[in-house]
Assembly symmetry: C2
Homo-oligomer: 322 residues x 2
């Protein structure tokens, strides 16, 4: 998804976002400044700010109206990452130790809360109540997704419906909100806001399916973490669900997937079974359908270069390798 930050329409604006992000994570306490800045300095694609900017530009570009919401969206995303780290105790994220690994659970939780609250300050600047309404709805649903992920972990009986419920909340809704809020910030009419919201939703679904495929098939170096992470954490993704239902070796796969502690060999065996079942092709096809649906929404937008960029982004998601 790096492509989005390289787009002409976005690249320059993200420099402003970066500066404001640095300012936003400043805290009176040096430790809190350090933990807050820790994840920020590890970089990232700034996907949600990029979507907000592109969505805003698709209607009418006004930097000073777009910047606070773009920054707020990245802060919300970062807050959820820091809180995720508290949970799954993963030792690294984006190639560096997590806040949790370095400072422990207590500090991580408060750092997440802090980043989220900083986002709220930026959001409260907007007079359009739709912006905070959209974002508070998403925040509620993101928690629902997290809880469902915990409850359903290692549960091999879950189906495609559970998966879609989860990735909608984990990923698609915040990308959809990014698009909506970008449009709302520049006072786009509801028709445009709605179309961009659906575009973001469908693209977010495709993006997460893509992520979940890559977690099984990607090059470890490019992925920045070992493959099979979801299997290890018991997160049962679309390709796994497909293979659990369709693979001739589904019984063995069930056994492997349901195991709370897996050896390296068992993870690789599960991946092999999943790949051989056709699950990757099935999932790619599902992702592709979302891409098509996302692009269809763009007909509701006025012609603009940013609109073309939204098409480029959609096509890219369909073809990314890492």
């Amino acid at each position: 998804m790096k492509v989005i930050s390289l787009l002409k329409d976005v690249k320059n604006e993200l420099k402003f976002v970066e500066k404001e992000l640095q300012k936003a994570v400043e805290a009176p306490d040096p430790l809190l400044s350090e933990t807050s800045a820790h994840l920020l300095n590890a970089g990232g694609k700034r996907l949600r700010p990029a979507f907000a900017i592109l969505a805003g530009k698709a209607y009418n570009f006004e930097r000073e109206k777009l910047l606070p919401i773009a920054v707020a969206l990245e802060l919300i995303h970062m807050a959820s990452l820091v809180h995720d780290d508290v949970i799954d105790a993963s030792p690294t994220r984006r190639g560096i130790p997590t806040v949790k690994a370095r400072w422990g659970n207590q500090i991580s939780m408060h750092t997440g809360d802090y980043l989220f609250a900083k986002a709220l300050i930026l959001i409260s600047q907007y007079s359009n109540p739709m912006i905070s309404s959209v974002l508070s709805d998403v925040s509620v649903k993101m928690c629902e997704g997290e809880i469902q992920q915990i409850i359903s972990s290692f549960d091999v009986r879950q189906g495609v419906k559970d998966y879609f419920y989860r990735i909608k909340r984990k990923t698609a809704l915040l990308i959809s909100a990014s698009c909506q809020c970008g449009a709302l910030a520049v006072d786009a009419p509801m028709e445009v806001v709605k179309a961009l919201g659906l575009y973001g939703h469908h693209l977010g679904m495709a993006f997460q399916i893509g992520d979940d495929i890559l977690d099984l098939v990607a090059d470890q170096k490019k992925l920045g973490k070992p493959v099979g992470g979801d299997l290890r954490q018991g997160i049962i993704t679309l390709p796994i669900i497909y293979a659990l239902a369709r693979s001739p070796q589904r019984q063995r796969l069930q056994e492997l997937v349901g195991k709370r502690e897996k050896s390296e060999g068992e993870v690789l065996e599960a991946i092999k079974i999943i790949k051989e079942s056709g699950a990757v092709e099935y999932s790619l096809n599902m992702s592709n359908r979302y891409i098509v649906k996302a692009k269809k929404q763009l007909v509701h937008l006025p012609p603009a270069r940013a609109k073309d960029s939204l098409v480029v982004v959609a096509d890219y998601i369909n073809n990314r390798k890492y």
Copy 2:
């Protein structure tokens, strides 16, 4: 502080708050509903809703305008309690097992996030941007207070200034915000909002000093938890700071307070030294000064029965025994 919920001006309204709170914690997932409702059903004084209602009534009573913010304030408070439980791993709160003790850290953290996000939905209903602005500022500062508490725990070198920095963020600001938001919700003029904000701030400071005194001197049964909890957790409160500086046995006290694992006998010994130093009287006097300052702010309010209630509440805080 139970008195506030017994006041005529508040009692009836809190029944509405209670009903709305029950609705607010409903979740699509049964586990999330259960964890969210868990703390709610344990009861509580509903201090923050009560302050919002009294503050609103001091200007102009409109239930439908006050109810959402009153509920939101309690949700924010509950969210912070659930997150606190993740941290200090205390086995009970309000006499029942904590969310953390029953469901673990992951679920607790998301339950806290969920309650907070539910509050945001209620807040986003208000068209006055001051309300979300006040609450997002408070949320940022509450995190700063939590982090400072972690960093400074067991640190016997801290002074009164560190203590006031902390209790302002931990307690006073949210009570101040409750008063401000109650007034803002009923469209009170800025002069009234400001006076009520200062009233709430001073009262909140007095309230926390009172809590910190009671943690050392209260009857364990009435307190609902063992005395000396702060000493055990390394939270160095005003009476402790005073005794660390003034007690003739300050060297022994330093040793005891700085110890990360204390025996029951050591906790009781520390409490004895603190009491003998005159720290309780000093702290009561400090609390009293805040009460006086709080009451002074009420001259800026128009005459109303709720104004008299605010005086009653202030006097009560000065005399409470548990």
